[in-house]
Subunit: 253 residues, 2 copies
């Protein structure tokens, strides 16, 4: 398969290296990724300045790789429409350093890159290690390889993608794989207020997770139980069952 | 009502001025908006540098206003959690200079700000002028006022918001108001390749809209027919009806 790999942690991140390297054993892999850390960029695209691409040596591999001074979504757009000669069969975004679970996927550059792939009609998935310390990316890379085999035999409908998270434990302690829904993630004390040496106030986005009761089917519960979560997602934000209600509001000009 | 107003065109844009000014006749309005143009930022949030806020004189008004050197989503988070003393009753994002229709809402800073409001459990809407030349923001501001009256009598469920677009025509030529779904918007020739004076390649994101056959119920069709579109949206990206299918893939570790 021709596989396009991107991420939001930047082209020099360990996660994208491990992922691309494992996949390149059996597949033709292309890497097009941000030139630096671009996490929490959501589905941002770059319209107000031009984008530059740079052909790169990708670590110790022969994988063809380009860095882009844009967002993860820019990388996918550029790869498909300007850099690669043919459409890839599959897009994988990751392996992300940290979770992309529940409501938080809205802010995720990793997930948005895979979503951009789906918008382009390409089978796509995002993969994240759902923890941030002592990450063993090999577990994620190996699971991604397995998923590629699944994508050889199966496909997901246009306009959809898969969001995968790997729990924080040793490989042998993983309970299995669950197909999940997006849970709800809320934060408290989101901003930390500080004063700079010139007496001016500034704020850091912080925030403690409020561990709400989660639906049994949710990705958050699944990860807590040490299962790999695979969530099918789409990007049609229409709230269909609210249309009739709003029609009754009887809005006039 | 206490109304929080933001946008993605920046605090000095005409759209936010017209909106806040009209609303302030009957309501207590607060403006918290980006210090500059931040369109196409999607649902980006700022994690890797701190945010600064600045209390501002808002044009010729007495409206309390703050600028933030962050994204529209940052503005809503900061307003609710650090700047305002109480939760607003309603959040309005706009009036945007240009359409926010169909698939493009994924990239929209305007819509993401309203979505951030919904995530915080506040009634929220986004409003955009669906054209870019000779914009008459008064039409949008007046319609927003009418919607505020509707929000006094009605409410939308938690986790949902309304996305409003105003068609490109004189007020008298507007056909009415339709409650719509998000249409599909695709582009071709997305990138324009140029060479800089030093011989280096760079790309501008451009793109011509491919006018696909649109569903009769879609916002894109509605705007083309010169009606105001009101689309109820939500942010639960789970593709529920795909769960069973993926379960049959029988994925193992």
């Amino acid at each position: 398969m021709n596989i396009l790999v991107t991420n939001d942690d930047g082209i020099f991140a360990e996660g994208i290296y491990k992922l691309a390297k494992v996949l390149s054993k059996k597949h033709k892999v292309f890497v097009v990724a941000p030139d630096r850390q671009r996490s929490a960029t959501g589905h941002a695209i770059t319209m107000h300045h031009p984008l530059r691409t740079q052909k790169m040596k990708f670590f110790d591999t022969d994988i063809e790789a380009w860095s882009v001074d844009g967002t993860p979504s820019d990388c996918i757009k550029l790869a498909i429409e300007a850099i690669l000669n043919e459409k890839p069969d599959l897009i994988i975004s990751g392996i992300n350093d940290g979770p992309n679970l529940g409501t938080d996927v809205l802010y995720s550059g990793t997930v948005s890159a895979a979503m951009e792939g789906a918008i382009h009609g390409i089978q796509s998935m995002a993969i994240s290690m759902a923890y941030t310390k002592n990450i063993d990316y090999n577990i994620g890379a190996e699971f991604a390889s397995k998923m590629v085999e699944k994508f050889k035999e199966n496909s997901i409908p246009e306009n959809t993608l898969l969001n995968i998270n790997i729990p924080d434990c040793k490989k042998n302690d993983i309970g299995g794989v669950k197909i999940t829904t997006l849970g709800v993630r809320r934060y408290k004390n989101s901003f930390i207020k500080r004063i700079d040496p010139r007496g001016q106030v500034y704020y850091w986005l912080g925030g403690d997770i409020i561990d709400e009761a989660q639906n049994e089917s949710s990705d958050i519960k699944c990860i807590k139980d040490k299962y790999i979560s695979v969530t099918p997602i789409h990007y049609d934000l229409t709230k269909y069952d609210l249309i009739e209600t709003i029609e009754k509001w009887n809005i006039r000009i």
